[in-house]
């Protein structure tokens, strides 16, 4: 039944397109009325469909069947950030208008990706605000704000990237290292648990991932020398079901990759949302850099499992395989970018555009490296090991006097969510070319204190930093096209079945691109820089695209 509706939807789309082509962008009134009628019929189905209160695991697994909803951080378990909606498409994108704006009143950076389920939008803002809105109008239904202690230790803004939803609850990790379950209908706290001690630097900024009956979440705090972990909590009770320490303890494999006691403060946090393969019941979760970030002295070894992709059994948290992207990192190159599951040529792959500037494709059954190709300006490596993994040059190591390396500490990309569009078979990512001067200095560990072992500074070159949206062919690593932004942006990217990409820029624009060519088709000035990733949803048969910018959440649709 749902498949038929999808068919109706695409019929609307095709009608719109042909009208547009015939009329050179000017649709005859009569045809417009036809279109409206068709859209109305489409809408009827959604109105008539029973409102389903419960978000079951089955719905999450089969999220592609309900493209009107956006139920996980990346839109589905595969991490593609691709919306199956096609009502807004290449031919009509230029007519997009703002439908509503929701002001959070929060200051700082909004990094949230909203969820939408059955007409209600759920999102977060700084200082662990969470809210539910009428997704058609932006009117609030409930609001929650956590009373945070005064001495929390966020690294890089009092940010939050979003919620997970399961059953009748939404879940948020907090800056004081708690996990909170809220009633999806009222925002009331159902349970909350302490994951770790915030006073020594633990915090959560990540959007959790709901899998089966578990809420999976990774810790932040590499800046404070925490020992990283990924936790899974019972969604009903908050009871912790498993914990995977990303830095192995004594007697565990990988422990030997840490010098002396450095493992105790080894970092390797897990602050961005992973993905899940229901067929093999594996969670793929990426990890961050070892601590201290820019000083390798004192932690000789590969420092497993920092800067790695981990394949964990969802039920037990036991590791099936790992792949380490940057060994013994000294440049703050967290590998926390969303790992995207791609099925191509009969192969089950997982791809990551890494902060160190390489685009990696792995076999997701085994973790074997298939390819690694640069997608930005790189000076730290010019050779690969036997497995094909780029190896760091000795001279790239930070020095006391400072040494310039590309990419800089912000990386070729960072937490900004990428997208994979199955229609173009291209991987799209926000990229930056910037080099930094890395200097190192002895810094003892002190609990609860920043633990960098260094400082780094923008390099002295007069050359400005450059920011791009790049389209990568995962089959070859080739850059198919790139769009240069005025300055580097922290915005994620969304692809849709309408042949479109959506992304934001540091100057406050929200932009629709043609996915095939990178040509900008439409933009809207939102009045604040973008640090979030867009998503799409539909209510009453109408498609919307939403993004957070400045201190507000915006929704756009057709007139």
């Amino acid at each position: 039944m749902r498949r038929r509706v999808a068919g109706e939807n695409s019929f609307v789309m095709h009608t719109g397109r042909s009208l547009n082509h015939r009329g050179h962008g000017e649709m005859p009134l009569r045809s417009l009325r036809d279109l409206a009628l068709l859209t109305a019929c489409f809408a009827c189905w959604f109105v008539a469909s029973p409102a389903r209160a419960q978000v079951t695991f089955e719905r999450l697994v089969n999220s592609a069947k309900e493209p009107q909803n956006w139920m996980t951080y990346s839109g589905d378990y595969s991490g593609k950030r691709f919306s199956g909606l096609d009502q807004i498409h290449v031919a009509n994108a230029r007519t997009l208008v703002a439908k509503w704006v929701y002001q959070t009143t929060a200051t700082g950076k909004l990094e949230t990706t909203p969820l939408v389920v059955d007409g209600i939008l759920y999102a977060t803002a700084q200082d662990n605000r969470a809210f539910a809105l009428d997704a058609r109008t932006g009117r609030p239904i409930w609001m929650y704000q956590r009373q945070l202690p005064g001495d929390i230790r966020p690294c890089c803004g009092r940010v939050n990237r979003g919620l997970a939803i399961l059953g009748d609850k939404v879940f948020m990790g907090t800056l004081d290292a708690h996990v909170v379950a809220l009633d999806a209908k009222t925002g009331a706290v159902v349970w909350e648990v302490v994951a770790a001690d915030y006073r020594i630097g633990h915090s959560f900024t990540v959007a959790p991932l709901a899998v089966k009956n578990l809420v999976v979440i990774g810790v932040s705090g590499g800046e404070y020398g925490v020992r990283g972990f990924i936790d899974a909590y019972d969604a009903d009770t908050g009871e912790r079901k498993w914990r995977f320490y990303t830095v192995p303890g004594p007697g565990e494999p990988g422990h030997e990759t840490w010098e002396g006691d450095s493992w105790k403060v080894g970092g390797a946090p897990a602050w961005n949302t992973g993905t899940y393969d229901a067929v093999t019941n594996q969670i793929f979760w990426p990890t961050g850099n070892p601590a201290p970030s820019n000083r390798g002295e004192g932690r000789a070894g590969d420092n497993l499992y920092s800067n790695s992709l981990l394949a964990l059994n969802a039920d037990t948290g036991k590791m099936n395989w790992y792949f380490q992207f940057t060994k013994h990192d000294e440049h703050d190159w967290d590998a926390t970018q969303v790992p995207v599951m791609i099925d191509a040529g009969g192969k089950l792959l997982i791809a990551q555009a890494n902060r160190n500037g390489y685009f990696y494709v792995l076999d997701r059954s085994t973790g074997k490296l298939m390819s690694a190709t640069a997608f930005g300006k790189i000076t730290w490596s010019d050779t690969k090991d036997a497995e094909g993994r780029p190896v760091e040059k000795k001279e790239a190591s930070p020095t006391l006097e400072g040494h310039t390396v590309c990419p800089g500490a912000a990386g070729t990309t960072n937490f900004m969510a990428p997208t994979y569009d199955p229609q173009t078979a291209l991987f799209y990512v926000t990229a930056r070319d910037q080099c930094d001067t890395f200097s190192t200095a002895p810094q003892p560990y002190e609990a609860g204190h920043a633990y960098y072992g260094s400082a780094y500074f923008p390099s002295d070159e007069a050359e400005p930093y450059r920011g791009y949206l790049k389209a990568i062919d995962p089959a070859t690593g080739e850059i198919k096209w790139k769009f240069e932004h005025t300055s580097p942006t922290w915005s994620g990217v969304l692809s849709t079945a309408g042949g479109l990409l959506f992304s934001g820029d540091a100057e406050g624009n929200f932009i629709a691109f043609e996915a095939a060519s990178g040509k900008p088709l439409w933009h809207f000035q939102m009045g604040g820089a973008v640090y979030a990733a867009p998503m799409a949803f539909a209510v009453d048969g109408k498609e919307y695209v939403a993004i957070a910018a400045g201190s507000a959440v915006y929704a756009f649709g057709l007139p």
Partner: protein, 315 residues
């Protein structure tokens, strides 16, 4: 580590939570965690914390730096400065791209240690100087750490007042006369608008930085408009645009995004242009300011201009 692009938005980290003893090798992390939560630790913590609070409170009451002249505190302050302040104020406090040179004995906003403490704690409204702990970067510095930084800054000050070598009165004549500086630069309400306003530059930049920007104006373009949520400020880039009807416009960018640009030309007219309607849009990092070499402006003349800017900036 998370979003370190934030270096550009200033980054104070340090906490009001007192420092714990170092993690010792014989304790594993579980024991360490228990130790932290233990009563012994808490008592010790409270006593230590109360002592610090008392010391700082007494100091604050009489407006004096309890750590003044303490070489050890200055060393600690140097590290705190590097993490918290150096991005804007430069390594060694000699001024960076954004923040003033703090090695000058005479500062614009602060004179006494107590004033400096206020400025670090509360920021300076209307400037890029933030209040301690308000940037979402950790919980800010402790009072003790702020005093350490002040001790460090005092230790870096050039003791002999940075008396300009040049003749300020002659420098003023040059600025408004033969030097042609005031055609584009404004000082104290008099001058042009095409280049950066320079009233405060003498108080915020080193002599060397001012000289370098006159001799090599393209080496590092000055920063223009800074938007609250944007990572990078606009720079004084030169630009040439040709409109749809063939009109050529040259000037500097006041601001720009992917779709529009705001240009000031030499006549101080502001042009608001949509890029897709232009025949040509070309930016250059060659500064609109001419390169003043020694033939145009002798070293002595340049010192005089610097002396004038310093005399204005110090006010």
């Amino acid at each position: 580590m998370t979003l370190r692009g934030d270096w550009f938005l200033i980054k104070p980290f340090f906490s009001i939570w007192p420092r714990f003893p170092k993690l010792e090798s014989r304790r594993d992390s579980v024991e360490f965690g228990k130790f932290l939560e233990g009563e012994f630790m808490f008592t010790r913590w409270c006593v230590g914390f109360a002592g610090l609070v008392l010391m700082v409170a007494v100091a604050a009451a009489n407006g004096q730096n309890p750590l003044a002249g303490d070489a050890k505190a200055a060393k600690a302050g140097e590290y705190e400065f590097r993490i918290n302040c150096a991005l804007c104020h430069g390594l060694g406090a000699r001024g960076g791209g954004r923040g003033p040179d703090l090695t000058r004995a005479v500062k614009k906003h602060t004179h006494s240690d107590a004033e400096m403490f206020q400025v670090i704690s509360n920021g300076i409204p209307g400037t890029a100087m933030p209040a301690n702990g308000t940037n979402g970067q950790g919980v800010g510095m402790t009072d003790v750490e702020i005093w350490q930084i002040i001790t460090y800054i005092r230790s870096q000050e050039v003791k002999a007042p940075a008396q300009a070598l040049g003749n300020a009165a002659h420098g003023k004549d040059l600025f408004y006369g033969d030097g042609n500086c005031s055609l584009c630069h404004m000082v104290a309400g008099k001058g042009g608008r095409l280049g950066p306003e320079l009233t405060g530059v003498g108080g915020s930049r080193t002599r060397e930085a001012i000289i370098d920007s006159v001799r090599n104006p393209s080496r590092r373009l000055a920063w223009g408009l800074t938007e609250a949520t944007k990572e990078f400020p606009q720079e004084y880039e030169s630009v040439t645009a040709v409109s749809a009807d063939g009109k050529k416009i040259t000037g500097v960018t006041l601001n720009e995004d992917s779709f529009s640009v705001q240009i000031m030309d030499a006549g101080e007219h502001i042009h608001l242009l949509e890029k897709d309607k232009l025949q040509l849009f070309q930016k250059s990092r060659e500064s609109a300011m001419p390169k003043y070499d020694v033939e145009v402006l002798s070293d002595k003349e340049l010192e005089d201009i610097v002396a004038y800017l310093v005399s204005v900036g110090a006010k």
